[in-house]
Amino acid sequence: MMTEISLNILDVAENSVKAKATLIKLTVCADFKENLLTVVIEDNGCGMTDEQIKRVTDPFYTTRTTRKVGLGVPFFKSAAESAGGSFHISSQVGKGTAVTASFQLNNIDRMPLGDICATVHTLVTMHEDIDFLFTYKVDEKGFVLDTREFREILGDISFKSFEVSNYIKDYLKENLTAVNGERII
């Protein structure tokens, strides 16, 4: 079991990495009027067959060979559904996959979003060959992190280098604080 929604995001986004995506879009959107937190993880990777989509929420299904269970997607699904939300996967072979999970914001069983900055920073710096588009919204306010913009400026300078890594960390933290204001999500 994960303790933060952002850990689920990190875990499920790794599936997109394995699916050989070149662009992964992460969206976190909190809508207090609708009492809804929506998370979308969308990639342009290899996609899944209808048969695989059916089985992917089964904890005893995995494509791995190192163990016999696959809990990433079932964890995410159960986190959403136990917080009055819903869970949906759409996928097309050769096109990509989109995983959408929604949560009731004020549900007592909703996990905190947790350290989403650490999740995005980890994904971005550990997978430099993949582009990430992270969108964060709380009601009307929001911000975007697009690694394609960063890459265009930086050329072949690594995201892992000290200054760039810190820049990305601060970029996420400062924008998130500005958007969140007093609210903790």
Binding site: L10, R64, M126, K160, N166, D170
Partner: protein, 120 residues
């Protein structure tokens, strides 16, 4: 607020250093397991700790990367360290605090912290 202008300034400063880094042959590799089992057991702060420490201490010969599940889920978070010419060392049940110790003792000092490694 961070602007892209700031990133351009970083690039200007760094352009002279490009090519200094990268996977050299004599480099030390730190590999953190980041599958569901690892993440659920707390691998994200461990990975962050290694990356931050390697940067802070300017250990340019150390590469921090991640891997999937190696089939020992009950010992996660697992960290493997490979040094040139030496056998791979596997640390188990890691935390950010233990990571700091491993950086000091093993990566910088060359002494394996056997109290945190897996026993046969």
């Amino acid at each position: 607020m961070k602007s892209l202008e700031e990133l351009k300034a970083i690039r200007e400063r760094m352009q002279g250093q490009v090519g200094m880094r990268g996977e050299e042959e004599n480099s030390i590799r730190v590999v953190v397991g980041m599958a569901t089992c690892g993440i659920a057991a707390g691998a994200r702060p461990v990975l962050t700790a290694f990356s931050d420490l390697v940067q802070e201490k300017n250990l340019t010969n150390v590469t921090v990367t991640q891997t999937g599940c190696i089939g020992m889920c009950m010992y996660e978070p697992i960290v493997e360290i490979t040094m040139p010419g030496k056998e791979k060392v596997t640390y188990v049940k890691m935390t950010a605090e233990k990571a700091a110790e491993v950086v000091e003792s093993h990566i910088i000092g060359g002494n394996v912290l056997t109290k945190y490694t897996i026993k046969d």
